[in-house]
Symmetry: D2
Subunit: 360 residues, 4 copies
Amino acid sequence: MGDSFGQLFRIMSFGESHGPGLGVVIEGCPAGIPIGAPDIQAELDRRRPGQSKLVTPRKEKDQVEILSGIFEGHTLGTAIGLLIRNADVDSSKYEDFKDKYRPSHADYTYDAKYGRRDWRGGGRASARETAARVAAGAVAKRVLSTRCPEICVVGWVAQVADVTAAVDPSSVTPDAVDAHPTRCPDAKAAADMETAIQEARKARDTVGGVVSCVVRGVPAGWGEPVFDKLEADLAKAMLSIPAAKGVEVGSGFAGTLLRGSQHNDPFVMSDGEVRTTSNHSGGIQGGISNGEDIFLRVAFKPVATIFQSQDTVTSDGRATTISPKGRHDPCVLPRAVPIVEAMVSLVLCDHMLRQRARQP
Amino acid sequence: MGDSFGQLFRIMSFGESHGPGLGVVIEGCPAGIPIGAPDIQAELDRRRPGQSKLVTPRKEKDQVEILSGIFEGHTLGTAIGLLIRNADVDSSKYEDFKDKYRPSHADYTYDAKYGRRDWRGGGRASARETAARVAAGAVAKRVLSTRCPEICVVGWVAQVADVTAAVDPSSVTPDAVDAHPTRCPDAKAAADMETAIQEARKARDTVGGVVSCVVRGVPAGWGEPVFDKLEADLAKAMLSIPAAKGVEVGSGFAGTLLRGSQHNDPFVMSDGEVRTTSNHSGGIQGGISNGEDIFLRVAFKPVATIFQSQDTVTSDGRATTISPKGRHDPCVLPRAVPIVEAMVSLVLCDHMLRQRARQP
Amino acid sequence: MGDSFGQLFRIMSFGESHGPGLGVVIEGCPAGIPIGAPDIQAELDRRRPGQSKLVTPRKEKDQVEILSGIFEGHTLGTAIGLLIRNADVDSSKYEDFKDKYRPSHADYTYDAKYGRRDWRGGGRASARETAARVAAGAVAKRVLSTRCPEICVVGWVAQVADVTAAVDPSSVTPDAVDAHPTRCPDAKAAADMETAIQEARKARDTVGGVVSCVVRGVPAGWGEPVFDKLEADLAKAMLSIPAAKGVEVGSGFAGTLLRGSQHNDPFVMSDGEVRTTSNHSGGIQGGISNGEDIFLRVAFKPVATIFQSQDTVTSDGRATTISPKGRHDPCVLPRAVPIVEAMVSLVLCDHMLRQRARQP
Amino acid sequence: MGDSFGQLFRIMSFGESHGPGLGVVIEGCPAGIPIGAPDIQAELDRRRPGQSKLVTPRKEKDQVEILSGIFEGHTLGTAIGLLIRNADVDSSKYEDFKDKYRPSHADYTYDAKYGRRDWRGGGRASARETAARVAAGAVAKRVLSTRCPEICVVGWVAQVADVTAAVDPSSVTPDAVDAHPTRCPDAKAAADMETAIQEARKARDTVGGVVSCVVRGVPAGWGEPVFDKLEADLAKAMLSIPAAKGVEVGSGFAGTLLRGSQHNDPFVMSDGEVRTTSNHSGGIQGGISNGEDIFLRVAFKPVATIFQSQDTVTSDGRATTISPKGRHDPCVLPRAVPIVEAMVSLVLCDHMLRQRARQP
């Protein structure tokens, strides 16, 4: 339990940070979707370590191998197995504190839960597992773009520390996002973010921030009433990402300050379609897409691994200090963008299939 | 799909606002839990309409009938069927706009999804469905309190419009919350919130706000790695509640402004237990409870039904205006507290069983 | 767990034999299916007690009440709640042996599992729960007949004790089955079966038998590879029915005596369609329907309640004897036919939706 | 969908016969179970091709690689990834009939379902996928034997063609089963079976048969009421195995000929335990284990691949003949034994966890 996600487009992921490898199996992918390893690799390359000086220097090519489910350039409809080998594994840095609980990591909680853990590189709790999400998300993206070509999922870094970006969700493009290593499409903010990240790194510290994501082109009618509302499934997807501590859809927390008369989105007809003149709902009403842009924001706490001495305890209950070594990101935000997009794509692909299942 | 929730403690709810009734079936409840209709009724009474002048005057006793699964004062281990009849149904107020899409309601999205809808009182999309959540949550609460007596789930209204409360999560009590009709345990803020609600009502308008919830006494080890992290399942639960648009766990969005050295929660030994000296993590690390208080906040948008004329369209695509009538809450926050507590209890009960399943 | 069934067309049932009532909630039913209480009642009337002298005289009208999900004569797409009150409840007959384990009933195993049980009329283990299956199955049948009008599900009694019927699966009709109280469409065998049942009743004993079921008109392509093969899901559905102890699809156990050259079903083209000239596969190949008639057989053991003194033990471990009283069927086969049909319909409706979800 | 199995001990398998490899991911395995690759390999060796002259000469070592979830000789509680590379792949034999539907194979139904298929070696529909079942089943077996050391799962070949074995389920041992290449522990029958298989092979034909399986040592209380009865989940597991066409539990079809007075299993006290003096129930009553031996039988049709010319059609609808080549088993029964045991172990392990989840 906990290693799988989705109802109809369902994935099960596996892999520890310093084990032989990690991967994911996808069941329920429709047949006949054109896709190959390069399509998946392109998304993995956006997430992988070492892509810029802003992220961890761990050298992982994150090369994906397709084990099953794709034949002659198309999905077969059968389970798709994807494998990524761990290559640049150096567990020696972790030997020193294999019995010490790193603050705000999952060392203690894994021990409490399981009675044991793979201490090398964080084991299963390492954010390295997100490579499997991105690989599966690449398939989901391709299913969406094949079946609903108008859909476009775009995430970007909206905030780092106290630097915020001004971005128009209705027009931002993937290219604009990827143009800067911060993945912030507001050039001025991007430069300030880079400074903030470098300052934190010099201080042997880390910073957090916010990723925003918009999905344009989702037709009205996706999402289910009551428990599987589209924003509910998106919220679960977002808070399952390592270091995520908050999510908001549409107006979110800011919307609590508006009155109903300000917040309601009036309906109008436009080119024969029902549209709204504002979008405080973030494209979802009653849990179901209304055809407007779906908009969400995800809060990421600062990275827990800081290169400073911190108080902690050992697994046998003695007070001690810890001074982490290894290779780490001073800020996860730039690499979080493809992860957010992957999880959003997985949720949407699942709900597309759920809606198609019952349509006449 | 969408009417059920949970993995091991699993519920399926049903019911339209103006149909014969609504209810819920619970499967997977352990046997031998002492419970009766009054236990469930007590929670329903906290949610039901007409309990104070701050909420809708719809007169629903929300009387629960136990149809199965409880015998001689204890759960049998078999499916528990709970039924609540709709009593004070007046669909005439909805006749006028059965073909008009109420702004920021689910009228349009249900039509887009299903091609039809029960227009009476919002049908399945009415927040009346939350009675089923509260009934099931009452059973979950009782399972938790029987198996883990130290667990205490307390929600409260933390914000209404721009009025915010000062409440100490480590000591707030259910009695303090229920002492005021706003369900805000900060007396000064409660009075201001009441004023804000009454002002909105007079302006034929509505207000939103924030519900906070703390869970004390959860042992370390609940929650699953990767996708079913405790905060992920809580986030889904929260954003499945009608009108919820955001959720944060622990430091949430505010935490994005801290550096890692400020945000990390140092471990210490206390009375032989591993504890942390701060709780920015909100009691969850790596998706798994660490024994500290679990803390979350949920944003609720202002109620969509305002007694003002608004622009909208008809189901056959003509521009029109709508002036809602009927009985409605100017602010859902006070009634949202038992709903938040119910959903939190359902998630925790589920994860308690998941953790017990695999322990030696 | 255990009270729900299906993936996309998913039901959760509840109810003890002598509690207030029993019922079922259906989630995932497509919207716009024309159906009303009489459609469901018609199937319930085929299952209900007291319909002939061959079955238990318990007087239950099994009147279904639709609680939700159906509006203006059509399904809404939301959860359908169905309730059947228990009316003719007489628990006094069970008082005498509330502490004795009835042989080959579930009294002991429920106690072993749950530590308690509702001893009145068998509680949750009573075959009375099958009314909920039949009610849900009636909805499934209607969904199938609306979306795939060519589909016809026909079950019949193929064997009672050692009396076997000669029936042609390719042409047998529901009317022919219901024409005789045994639900055997072979008149000669039906008469002999009736005699066998009456003889067993006179001997205060019971008999078992076999129900066959054919489904004509299923298109090729339903069913999933590997674990959710159509025959696997049908087998689960069949062996979940009380008293069922075996199931076979197509050639079944008899097919083990054939050689491959005799068993293989050669393909031919017929009216532009791929067909087979024999049907040892029972309409399913590799777990997926091939367009031929789906054929299965289900073995039912003789009813466990016999009006004879039997050796058993008490719940506190003392040897004793038991002489059941109450109202019971000497043979469940006639009433099992609508149950088998209901479960087959639920499986097919689920797989129809699963297949539709992924088609272009 | 269709590639995963189980609720709490849940597997997702993948792999085509002639693709890069096949494998399985297991989620929900308890932590701390001692296991290593040799334990899994031992079961795979019982299933693999080429182990005797009775089975296909395809040379596959079926070497398992553990990708995750096992560390320092014990399960971590996290997802276990297992990979088996395909080594001895020869697709050339399939080139000739890539457009012809092999009778009683899944070629046609996969095309009908997906619009495409991997024609090499049967693709996903090849029985080669059962290696993944056996690998996962080996882990399940180890979990069972660690948590419930008294449990023993023993399958054997009970019938080949018309040769039936006399075997005592209460005492048969795994060693006795594996002593003969037929996996029939009745020496006389084993010899006759071998003859029957060799005769079929010489006739370029195939034979079917029956695998029996007993599970000793299951405590009372496993299995769930209504839909997830132990025999229901076992039936699904069995009929998901390629070529299985029937299953019976306890008395099965033969039990339909008994009267209730003959079939009922009287309870007695024995060494302070509730036991039965006969076991027509096959160890399961009301869907829940009663502490007696669980007994089931599975019918396997003769292998579809026969080396004879057969009538069939092409994928574009022309009549043709087909003369299969390649490497095939004349009888799957000997290799089916570890597969049956694996699936039985998966079901039991799942139900053990389900029962533990709710116990006090």
